[in-house]
């Protein structure tokens, strides 16, 4: 029983990083209705900008964080212009494949400059894990968990309490109608994309900081974990992204403990497959009614 609870705790802590990734993913999907496969690699690029400053100039954590976010936003803007803005609305497949092509491009760009397997990243904290009773929690994981909650609250305020958020929701609901209301769709999508990339930059900083290292494989990992967590929670739902991330973390931690390493990813994909076939909307997938209510919610 102690094992089971400890696994759940580990899972929730692991899941916080998935949740952080899924928030940005779901924001982009919510507004574009298209999948951005190069989300992971673009925030990885940000993390490598951070690590470059850390290695070359011994920059402190705040500067590294700022550089990571800035790098992620720049890469995100590049992706948005090339793969989403330039390809017309109907061609969702073309957007997806194009974002995959840019993924390959960003990954190779990073490996050209950083050919090693791993690079150091400024650690989040040196603090010892604290314990209560028989259980342990790592401080950096707790920080990630809290950050995920704070970001979710922040995003909720922006989406439901500001004019920009109203515009985002309008575009997400019906781009054509939004345009008739005088909303500049291109600009709204661009800034929402930039915001999602900034969130991704924060996520990358926290995750790389918790491990105190970064690898060029981070892009692939981030895209897949973020995507699975998003699908489990329900595409386009922000609380769903958090829940999905935590669920994924707990399932991985339990199967790692009870079944062994090789079953960890297998059970994650199995869970995803089951969800897609039986409940494609995910945990908190929006039914039509809730979506309409959210759409008419005024600022």
């Amino acid at each position: 029983m102690v094992d089971f609870i400890q696994n759940c705790l580990d899972g929730v802590m692991l899941g916080s990083s998935y949740a952080l990734l899924a928030i940005g993913f779901t924001l982009i999907f919510g507004i574009m209705r298209r999948l951005n496969l190069s989300y992971g690699p673009s925030i990885m690029l940000g993390a490598f900008v951070g690590t470059l400053l850390y290695l070359e100039f011994q920059a402190d954590a705040v500067v590294v964080a700022a550089a990571t976010v800035a790098g992620a936003v720049l890469a995100g803007m590049y992706v948005e212009r090339l793969c989403f803005w330039a390809i017309r609305q109907g061609a969702a497949a073309a957007s997806m494949v194009s974002s995959f092509a840019i993924w390959m491009q960003l990954e190779e760009l990073v490996t050209v400059f950083f050919p090693e397997r791993t690079y150091p990243f400024p650690p989040l904290t040196e603090a010892e894990p604290f314990s209560f009773g028989p259980f342990f929690i790592k401080v950096e994981n707790l920080a990630m968990f809290l950050c995920a909650l704070v970001l979710m609250a922040l995003l909720h305020v922006v989406l439901y309490r500001t004019r920009f958020g109203l515009a985002v929701r309008a575009v997400s609901e019906n781009p054509l109608a939004a345009r008739f209301m005088g909303i500049n769709i291109g600009a709204v999508m661009f800034w929402a994309f930039a915001a999602a990339s900034a969130l991704g930059g924060v996520a990358a900083f926290l995750i790389a900081g918790a491990d105190a290292q970064i690898t060029p494989l981070f892009g692939l990992w981030a895209t897949f974990k973020g995507m699975i967590a998003m699908m489990l929670g329900g595409m386009g739902s922000i609380p769903g992204a958090i829940l999905g991330g935590l669920l994924l973390g707990v399932v991985e931690a339990q199967s790692l403990w009870y079944l062994g390493t090789e079953y960890r990813d297998l059970s994650a994909y199995f869970l995803l497959f089951l969800f897609l076939v039986l409940r494609p909307g995910g945990l908190l997938g929006h039914g039509r009614a809730t979506r309409e209510r959210a759409a008419t919610h005024r600022v």
Binding site: L37, L82, A91, S98, A101, E108, V112, Y269
Partner: protein, 304 residues
């Protein structure tokens, strides 16, 4: 022939199968990230048949393709109820499950004092049929292209048949298809099964060329690449995916000057291409235009 050229051409041929398989699903309007699963199932299936059960090569190849087709049909039943992006992610999840199952799949028998068979993440060694029967690399390349030509011919027949029109109509508008009294789900499952067979033929050929398969080759990168080939080359004709493969492997891999930056060039190229032509180089319109030209040329020749 130059061995390097032979190996590049053989690679192009084998990857063409999986690209054609993804293309077939694109025709019916579904995006699959998971065709590498059927490639893998058949690579293992046909390898087991020839190396462990002692079957002849052709039988092993057909067996692998049949198993892959069956798996594709079975998996299409639950996944094709869900549409669009959900289907794409479901195929991705399925393919990763298949890969991870092969990571733990062990089935070995002793042949001539040696253990032969899939050994989890260590892969499946000694699929030696081609070498034991003295087929040279060049001859094997012709076998690959022979099978590829057969598959292409069936694609062209398909395009001219009623079934081909139904597939294209499904890709255009499933609702309209249903209104014609056609069962959209049935035809999609059929397309999926056929795509499984096509990918399976490639997988079987692949396993016998390399003599060694390991699960990590069949990762999602292979699947997304094969999907991208169709979209680069064009969705108007079955030659489209082959053009995509040719551009990627044939052109970029052979030009040594950009060897370290291949993906940077390829990625940028694809992104720009998809802006100009979202349905690829040889899209439906281009194919129609070409057909018109050919027809006009023919009638000109006749009137002269």
């Amino acid at each position: 022939m130059d061995p390097y050229l032979v190996s590049v051409l053989s690679n192009i041929g084998m990857i063409s199968f999986i690209a054609l398989s993804a293309y077939l699903l694109l025709l019916v309007g579904e995006i699959s990230f998971g065709q590498q699963a059927f490639f893998a199932i058949s690579a293992y299936g046909s390898g087991i048949a020839t190396a462990m059960w002692g079957w002849p090569f052709w039988l092993g190849l057909l067996w692998g393709a049949a198993v892959a087709g069956l798996a594709a049909t079975l998996i299409a039943v639950p996944t094709l109820r869900i549409r669009g992006l959900y289907f794409s992610i479901a195929t991705l999840a399925f393919a990763e499950m298949v890969r991870l199952i092969f990571e733990i799949f062990k089935y070995q028998v002793e042949i001539d004092g040696e253990l032969v068979g899939p050994d989890g993440s260590d892969g499946f060694r000694d699929i030696r049929y081609i070498y034991d029967s003295d087929i040279s690399q060049t001859e094997y390349m012709f076998i690959i292209y022979g099978v590829l030509v057969l598959v292409l011919a069936s694609f062209f027949l398909l395009e001219r048949s009623r079934l081909g029109s139904i597939f294209r109509m499904l890709g255009e508008d499933p609702m309209l298809t249903e209104m014609q009294g056609l069962n959209a789900t049935f035809y999609k499952i059929m397309a999926s099964g056929m795509a499984g067979v096509v990918a399976g033929l490639g997988g079987g050929l692949y396993a016998h060329l390399t003599t060694y398969v390991e699960p990590k080759i069949f990762n999602v990168m292979l699947g997304v690449h094969s999907l991208a080939y169709g979209l680069i080359g064009g969705l108007g004709t079955a030659l489209g995916p082959l053009i995509g493969v040719g551009i990627d492997i044939g052109f970029l891999e052979s030009v040594r000057a950009i060897s370290g930056y291949r993906m940077i060039v390829f990625g940028g190229l694809v992104a720009v291409l998809l802006i100009v032509r979202p349905r690829g180089l040889l899209d439906e319109r281009a194919v129609y235009w070409l057909r018109q030209r050919v027809r006009r040329l023919k009638s000109d020749v006749r009137s002269d």
